[in-house]
């Protein structure tokens, strides 16, 4: 089975490196600059599970080295359009695309471009970031899960991918419940990203204020209502877990989008918060807190576009 991974960031890079180490046939599709670096230095992984330098196979065009059985999309949501252009030549009749993006907006886009039958669901729980020299700094969780979005038994290539993951020491694997899990994660992310960015603090910082806990729970409720309207209400157990996690006193939990904002980089505001708000509107659900949060994120983009406050 031939696997193509677009992007060698924390998620794609870590996952692909471990697959390669355990003997899977993995190729990375990278931009020219990143490709050069990886060709020269290898793919450098620093991880509590063991450091490694991987002599990874690299291509810069989706037309090279194919056809591929699996194409993993591990890009940021705001790069989806260019990512789709890049992978298009690598996607053949029998290719399965496994997107590892947050939110749900990418499915409509991918379905339209490649056909829904080619697009599986995917979810990453890999914590890490890129270091200053492009090295992958893996810090903890290392799970990915994937599955059929319609809940049917997994196709052969996903089963094979699961075997490869197990061999590579990657947790997770086939997930029969991927669509619901994606929604559950999105509800959590929309709340934590919306709140940590618009309040500019960690969950614990927000809990220090008079109305902080109430505001966070209201925001969670707005997202839950959207999920429910779309037929994906979280279970009571999931909801209780989210409530505890998002209102825990002294918590240092923070959305990665806040780090992106504080660095002045691009942020996935539109896909994580904006799309949830848009779906709320469509379903006639009042979402005042998501509205504040999305306005914050749009203000950030406007300010970023003009290069600062001055």
């Amino acid at each position: 089975m031939k696997i193509l991974i677009l992007g060698a960031g924390a998620v794609g890079g870590y996952w692909g490196a471990r697959l390669h180490q355990s003997g899977a046939d993995v190729t990375f599709l990278l931009r020219e600059k990143r490709a050069e670096k990886v060709r020269k230095d290898g793919l450098v992984v620093k991880s509590p599970k063991g450091d490694a330098v991987i002599p990874a196979k690299v291509v810069t065009k989706g037309s090279e080295g194919g056809p591929y059985d699996i194409v993993v999309l591990a890009c940021k949501a705001y790069d989806l359009d260019s990512a789709m252009e890049s992978i298009a030549p690598a996607v053949g009749t029998n290719t399965t695309i496994v997107p590892m993006l947050n939110g749900h907006a990418h499915f409509a886009t991918l379905d339209k471009k490649f056909g829904p039958e080619k697009v599986a669901g995917g979810l990453a729980r890999i914590s890490g970031m890129l270091g200053p020299n492009g090295e992958i700094l893996h810090s903890g969780a290392s799970g990915v899960s994937f599955g059929e979005r319609d809940g049917k038994p997994a196709r052969a290539s996903l089963v094979e991918l699961e075997v490869a993951c197990k061999k590579a020491g990657i947790d997770g694997g086939i997930n029969a419940n991927i669509n619901q899990d994606l929604w559950d994660k999105w509800i959590m992310l929309a709340t934590i990203a919306g709140m940590c960015s618009s309040m500019r603090g960690t969950v614990g910082d927000i809990m220090e204020t008079e109305d902080g806990a109430a505001i966070v729970l209201e925001t969670l409720d707005e997202s839950c209502k959207v999920a429910t309207a779309e037929g994906h209400a979280p279970s009571d157990k999931v909801l209780a877990g989210l409530k505890t996690m998002l209102t825990s006193k002294g918590s240092k939990a923070v959305a990665s989008i806040l780090g992106d904002i504080e660095k002045g980089g691009p942020a996935e505001g539109k896909q994580i918060v904006g799309d949830m708000l848009a779906r709320a509107r469509k379903a006639g659900i009042a979402a005042p807190n998501l509205r504040f949060a999305y306005t914050h994120l749009q203000t950030y983009e406007a300010r970023r576009a003009r290069g600062g406050l001055k």
């Binding site: 500019r200 603090g201 204020t209 902080g212 509205r291 914050h296 203000t299 406007a302 300010r303 406050l309």
Partner: protein
């Protein structure tokens, strides 16, 4: 007439400097360190209306040099308690206290301490800053203070005399028969600007770039107007129009000074400008969802600042 000015910072230093220059009897109540610098270097004003360096009268204890006819307070709201303690010995039976602070809460606090009759209304509009050398930099075309009786009655002799001194000094403004309404109008404007610029972390024009930025700004104006109306100080059609048009200028790079303070990690007048508006709204049964969100943002900031993570 003897005038005491608490502090020789940006506004107090500029107005007091111009009054002194034009022959008024002005004393500055300053801390030891500032006193030394003023005695050594004089009070330095660099201004669009002419530079001047002059020796001025200073004291470090309010008990010295009195009694004073007029005491002018130009401190930040969060320094009000210590300012009240500092000036208390200078306030005699016939002294008039003129606070040049934003918001309204300080008036209640001052009236409680010194008696209702001694405290009049005051408003500053001076685009001025102090650099790290203690020089006062007046870079804008405007420099005005206005003051008047809070009950709208004819001004007491001390204010009439101060009006004459102000006119002689070249500072604009003077007696204002409408001071309380003007204070409310300015507070509504400032509260909205501070709340929205801080919550969204952008200049006025950045917020207007967001889909619902304009709506959120106008709703926030409305929250302030309702509180003012409940206090008997509805800004009226003309007042509201002025505030609205000031806050909805497309492309405006104007941002609340509170946002600049936030981004420098400095102390902010959150409780005085935003918190007090919410407290008054609650008392009057007025909903202020936008101010609530902004105040939560400011409280997160203050919690982080207190923890050394601003």
């Amino acid at each position: 007439m003897k005038i005491l000015i608490l502090g020789a910072g940006a506004i107090g230093g500029y107005v007091g400097g111009r009054l002194h220059q034009s022959g008024a009897d002005v004393t500055f109540l300053v801390r030891d360190k500032r006193n030394e610098a003023l005695k050594r270097d004089g009070l330095v004003i660099k201004s669009t209306k002419g530079d001047i360096t002059q020796m001025v009268k200073t004291i470090t204890k309010a008990g010295d040099g009195g009694p004073y006819d007029v005491v002018i307070l130009t401190c930040k709201a969060y320094d009000l308690d210590s300012a009240i303690d500092a000036v208390a010995p200078a306030v005699g039976a016939t002294t008039t206290v003129i606070p040049l602070l934003n918001g309204m809460r300080h008036i209640d606090l001052l009236a409680a301490k010194f008696g209702d009759a001694k405290v009049v209304g005051g408003l500053a509009r001076v685009g001025v800053a102090m650099n790290d050398k203690g020089e006062i930099l007046h870079t804008s075309p405007f420099a005005a203070i206005s003051f008047g009786e809070r009950d709208g009655k004819p001004a007491r002799p001390a204010l009439v005399e101060l009006d004459a001194a102000i006119k002689k000094s070249g500072v604009d403004g003077g007696l204002n028969a409408n001071i309380v309404q003007d204070l409310w109008d300015k507070w509504i404007m400032l509260c909205t600007l501070a709340a929205t610029c801080c919550l969204m972390r952008g200049a006025s024009g950045d917020i207007l770039e967001a889909d619902e930025g304009r709506a959120i700004v106008l709703e926030t104006v409305d929250e302030g107007c309702k509180v003012a109306a409940a206090a008997g100080h509805d800004p009226g059609e003309k007042g509201i129009t002025t505030i609205r048009s000031f806050l909805t200028v497309k492309g405006s790079k104007f941002a609340a000074s509170m946002l600049h303070d936030l981004e420098k990690g400095a102390m902010v007048e959150a409780d005085h400008i935003v918190g007090d508006m919410i407290a008054r709204a609650k008392k009057a049964g007025i909903a202020t969802p936008n101010l609530r969100m902004a105040y939560a943002h400011l409280q997160v900031y203050l919690a982080r600042r207190a923890a050394g993570r601003a």
